[in-house]
């Protein structure tokens, strides 16, 4: 079973603050994803990547940057946080090269922007 970890688990910042959310997966998956989950909107894809150095834009990318430094590590950056970015953020990974579409999710990071 895939292991996906996220840090921090909770974060409070102020408007205009700089936040980095971290995600690590240890099962050598190629694909990694960042989602935000909000009531009434489900899971919305922010950015994803299919390998180190690669970045693909998701459905709600505005205000977010992401970087995939290694196969294991995927970071989400909020350089000027706004209250609208208060949300629960999930990271996920999958290995589509093995004909498996299943995404494995991390425990989530709850971000509050005051």
């Amino acid at each position: 079973e895939a292991a996906v970890t996220q840090s921090p688990r909770n974060k409070v910042t102020v408007t205009g603050g700089n936040v980095t959310l971290s995600c690590r997966q240890t099962n050598s998956h190629n694909y990694m994803y960042w989602y935000r989950q909000d009531t009434g909107h489900g899971l919305r894809l922010i950015h994803y990547s299919y390998g180190a150095g690669n970045l693909q834009i998701g459905d709600v990318p505005d205000g977010y940057k992401a970087t995939r430094t290694t196969q294991e590590d995927f970071f989400l950056l909020l350089e000027l946080a706004s209250p609208s970015q208060t949300s629960l953020y999930f990271c996920a990974s999958s290995d589509l090269d093995r004909s498996s579409y299943e995404q494995y999710f991390g425990p989530g990071t709850r971000l509050t922007v005051l």
Binding site: V4, G42, L43, L45, G58, F90, F105, P107
Partner: protein
């Protein structure tokens, strides 16, 4: 434009009843439809999935019914249990290397 729509937003059933969750989609190129389940305080996890070559997929008490012509699918939870109380997300993707598009979710409450 929401490409994957779910209804109802919330659903309450009694223990033992069948819960029916609905999903529809816009993009005719979608060819993979998983359902993910999210318990409060936990991570979403794959529950069951179907591809358009089939119109039905069963896994225990969970069954997906798929209608390609109408671009609709539904998840049936038979003999619902209080432990099934969770939020269920329908999702879809097009092609082998495409990301998933999730619906807004259906919150299911099963009363004992």
């Amino acid at each position: 434009q929401q490409q994957v729509r779910q209804s109802p937003q919330s659903l309450t059933v009694w223990e033992g009843e069948t819960a029916i969750l609905n999903c529809s989609y816009e993009d005719s190129t979608f060819d993979y439809f998983p359902w993910y389940r999210l318990f409060p305080g936990e991570s979403p996890a794959l529950l069951i999935a179907i591809r358009p070559v089939s119109n039905k997929k069963e896994d225990g008490r969970f069954t997906i019914f798929f209608n390609k012509r109408e671009k609709k699918l539904s998840l049936h939870i038979t003999d619902s249990q209080p432990g099934d109380s969770a939020t269920y997300f329908c999702a879809a993707s097009a092609g082998f290397a495409s990301a998933l598009t999730f619906g807004s979710g259906t919150k299911v409450i099963v009363l004992p």
